[in-house]
Amino acid sequence: MLIKEIELENFKSFKGTHHIDFATDSVKNVTVVMGDNGAGKTTLEQAFVWCLYGEVEGLGDNLLNYDIQNELIYGQVSKVCMKVKLLVEFRGQNHRISRFQDLVYKYNKVGVDGNYFIVDKQDENGSWVRLKHADSLVFIKKLLPQELSGFFFFDGEHLDRMSTELLQKKKSNNFKDAVRGLVGLTALRNTLSHLGPATKKRTVCGNFNSEINSGSDDRIRELSNKIDTFSEAIEKNEKEVENLEIEIERHEGNRADWQQQLSNLQDDVNRKKQYDDLEKKIVDNEKRENALVGSLFKDFAKNFGTEISQPFFKEALEEIKSVSKTEETRPYIPVDTIKFLLNAKECICGCKLEEGSEESKHLMSLMEDLPSDSLRDNIVKFSTSIRARLRNIGEFKNNFEQYIIDKNNYNEEARKASDDRRMLEDTLKDTSQVENLRKKIDGSTARIKDYRARVKNYRNNIARDEMQRKSAQTTRNSLLAACEKNRKNITYYNYANFLYEMLSNTYMKKERDTRRDLEVIINEIFDDIYDGDIQIAVDDEYRITSTLKDVLGGGGNLARNTAQNYAIIFAFIVGIIKLVKINRGNEDGYPLVMDAPLSSFDEKRIKQICQTIPEIAKQIIIFIKDTDGKIAEQHLSGKIGARYDLKPISKTQSIIEQR
């Protein structure tokens, strides 16, 4: 495919008719369109997309030039036409693609009065033949599917979106199918989905399979119903698994991003941890100090009395020591003993103690002098009590001093920690961001865990249903084999199923090979346009992962900067183009229409890109601002076939001039 010309009429900032002839030479295949910011570079790129597909993402419906709109509104004209025409060469034949709108002013607004889309094909004689509307749409699909247009007509916004689709694990089935189409896998894939699998009723295999049931006896019908039920359950569960896996991937992607952000905030996290540790240390030391003081109080209340009594115990014992000997000469006689003898009126010696007698009076006077308690018993008790006290006291003074030392140590540690904490307070930033990220990560982790558990559950159910279905199928097959009516259908079914499996294997191998080829090509191109230290891989879903080369274990998924991301996308696009070239021979190729593609790169990378891309793409059309443009022109000098300038002549109008 080559884009030969574009013609614009009243499209956005291009009032009146404007025309560009693009470079189509096989060597000088680059067209540079240079313009300042606001000159209409992006508008030009959008004009291509609008002409081919009738819509431009995020642009709305109102594409008419602002001045022309005013002319309509003020009645200077009653109807205007807005038009974009492309002349393209596709498979050696010229095609003219025209899209235009008639616009009028009614009901107080500018509205579309007619929408037209026309494709004309030039035959061998040079005559133009108009295609039917449906054929026109098919032609566009063949020319360049809309899903892939973003790769061939791209601007900064497209790069962001592609970055999302390719690099950030967001699935796009359209995109995947389009890539398959480009690399020539669609036909085989469609054949496969027409043929099977047998579990889907609308496929050939499925149809034969269901035919097998008809005319069978009740047992077979019953088994067939069971098989259908299992198949439906399996299909349903597989769908659930697929959805959950998409969710798991999404959460894993988000979690990886958040973890990266968290890791960037690690210094703050460490400081906060240090702060928390200090705070804990202060609290712990306070607790220890309080516990120590509590112990000191207890020790004082319990032992201080004994501690200070010791000299007095000694002095008291000295007093007793000298006296206790006297006690030995005066043994203790309880008063009650004397009272008993007086009451009995007889002494223990047998002498009668008559009331009022001399003996009785003597005993009574003796009784008054007797002490109430035994000195001997109480002294024994006293010394025993002292002994018990001293045994339990321990080293009160030493303990007391140790308490004070320990308390001072704790106090000093707490003071130091408090000083350190105060110093950290000044450097501590708001940690709510960290907390938020942690919460998000925890939330995602919990979801992933939950989804994985559910996937496991669904898979168990699938395995169980598959086993039961297989068992039912075996039983039914043996019943069917015996049934003459079904023999024919079984044969057909077996043929179709064999074909399906054979093609399925071929398809899988081909797709695997294609992905591998794509991967090799992308890496080659990436090495050319960027640095060779990154390894790019293409997964089953045609998504990209990149790892550092020469790192044991692959180095993990690499956190890429914007320039690397864009370089990978460049490599991917150019890789696709190259693969298509290889698959289809040189008859076809794709142009690249790029709006400000180099603004993210430094001069070294711009040079590498300028040297690589024109060799692979059939045609390059670059809209570029003057600074990058001069560098690009310098490196593309041998390749440039056409140069244009975009010049704004007012806020609502630009013109195109050939240089």
Binding site: F297, A301, A316, P371, S372, I379, S385
Partner: protein
């Protein structure tokens, strides 16, 4: 001896409450933790502190302050300590007024005889009240926190050890003497 409730009146009742404030008194709220867990610990120590620091107190009859009653059940728990302190005080107090025999009788012979014990009891209780006053003044008065209590306690204990007039005795010597008088 020590077989009845011990009742403290006036300021001594109050001092006791402040020395052992973990008890709820006059308020619905628990008081802050201080040096002594309960009244009994204060009484045990105060009885000997008053004698050692030679501080006597007199019963304060200020009826505006509620009495502080230590019930017999609690008194029984500290009876051994109180008896020991009682006998030490009786043996060593009034050495210049009373003969050794008289002090011995007062210390050991009148446990069962309240009348004969009355002068000794009066002396003991005056030292006990003096001890409560001293502990209150040294440890608690003006203190508002555990940290204040700690500072006061340290100052009090350190002052005791720094007093050059204090005589020291080895525990072994005392135990040896216990054996000699143990009869």
């Amino acid at each position: 001896m020590f077989d009845k409730n011990m009742i403290f009146h006036g300021k001594h009742a109050d001092y006791l409450r402040k020395l052992a404030p973990s008890k709820i008194w006059g308020s619905k709220f628990e008081q802050r933790k201080s040096i002594f867990d309960n009244n009994m610990q204060v009484v045990e120590l105060a009885s000997i502190i008053g004698f050692i620091y030679n501080r006597k107190g007199e019963i304060d009859r200020d009826s505006s302050i509620p009495d502080n009653n230590i019930f017999l059940e609690q008194v029984t728990k500290i009876k051994d300590t109180l008896e020991l302190n009682y006998r030490v005080i009786m043996l060593l107090a009034d050495k210049n007024k009373l003969s050794r025999d008289e002090r011995l009788d007062r210390a050991f012979r009148y446990d069962q005889d309240e009348d004969k014990r009355a002068p000794g009891d009066k002396l003991f209780y005056s030292y006990l009240l003096g001890g409560i006053e001293l502990l209150y003044e040294q440890l608690i008065e003006g203190s508002t926190s555990m940290e204040d209590d700690y500072e006061n306690l340290c100052r009090f204990v350190k002052a005791y050890y720094m007093d050059d007039n204090r005589t020291t005795s080895s525990i072994d010597d005392i135990l040896k003497m216990c054996n000699q008088v143990g009869i």
